[in-house]
Amino acid sequence: MTDQLRSYLPIIIPLAVIEVGLMIAALIHIFTHKNYRFGNRWVWVVISVLFNIIGPILYFAVGRGENQDDEQ
């Protein structure tokens, strides 16, 4: 079993790097911006952390605020 697991390592590790990298990128963006197209900060934090790859992609594609308008 461990042999089998080891054979997966070369593929699991890069995948994990992408996952964690995207998650960190999304979290940095979430915490440095105040406005989101919809949802609020904590919804996006949860989505980005919970759903690997898809979560951060969803955030950047639809959740990210267009700009940080200082109008209301």
Binding site: Q4, Y8, I11, L15, I18, E19, G21, I57, F60, A61
Partner: protein
């Protein structure tokens, strides 16, 4: 020419700063990694499953072709979906917001806008598709060695051309409706219609949708070149027609 290169530069900047490039690259590299992983996992997971009555499921170990099968399936479904989501606003957002007005009022030709958008989206799609291909190819080589693949170049080109067709459709839809929904509608409608047409088996040979999913059969040698060439030509012709229509419609559009 200067206006074109400036506006093309703006398109790339936009992809970078609105995270569209990041999304595409990350997603396609992930798909590239996922394809061999899934191919390898399926037999490992299924093997030894008790089918009941003492029968034990025996699945043959995966091969390079299984890995490529996963690649075509993932890219033609999830990959194409991501392409559509990332590029759906390419024309519509600008027209809906009116961000082009400042530039058109300075003498930027309308056709330049369309070509810059088409080229930038196609370059981005080529880059991401190429990355996914490279990653899957690397893992497939590592796990299963370099098996013989027939018509590899054409097999991979087919799916790429289908992606370009979708980009052209997103541009035309965005221009007609002046919003992202027009683009989404155009892409979705064409995919649905092509899938419906595909119900008739005689049509498959000419249907661009068979470029999207079926080309693994070309790699394995199940199908021959002749089974895909008509669809490929029709798809290329469709891209030309759609781009011509985009240029014509945009030139007549009142802004």
């Amino acid at each position: 020419m200067r206006a074109f290169s400036s506006f093309l530069g703006k398109e790339f900047q936009e992809s970078l700063r609105t995270y569209r490039l990041l999304i595409m690259v990350a997603a396609f590299v992930a798909l590239g990694v996922l394809s061999p992983l899934l191919a390898k996992m399926v037999p490992d997971l299924l093997n030894g499953t008790d089918m009941g009555g003492g029968a034990i499921l025996r699945v043959p170990p995966a091969t390079a072709l299984d890995s490529w099968g996963q690649f075509f399936k993932n890219i033609s479904q999830l990959g194409v979906l991501i392409l559509v989501i990332v590029d759906c606003g390419i024309m519509g957002t600008e027209l809906a917001k009116g961000t082009l007005t400042n530039f058109l009022a300075k003498g930027l030709p309308r056709s330049t806008v369309i070509w810059a958008k088409f080229v930038s989206a196609t370059v981005m799609w080529t880059l991401c598709y190429g990355l996914a291909l490279l990653v899957t190819w690397g893992y497939t080589l590592y796990f299963w060695g370099n098996g013989p693949l027939s018509h590899a170049f054409l097999a991979f080109t087919c799916l790429w051309v289908f992606g370009v067709l979708l980009i052209a459709l997103l541009i035309l839809g965005g221009i007609i409706q002046s919003n992202i929904y027009g683009a989404l509608l155009a892409a979705a409608a064409v995919i649905i219609v092509l899938n419906l047409v595909n119900i008739a088996p005689q049509a498959a040979k000419y249907n661009p949708i068979s470029l999207a999913g079926g080309t693994v059969n070309l790699l394995s040698g199940h199908n021959t070149l002749g089974d895909y060439l008509p669809a490929l030509w029709i798809c290329l012709a469709a891209i030309v027609v759609i781009m011509a229509a985009s240029l014509a419609v945009f030139d007549r559009k009142q802004l």
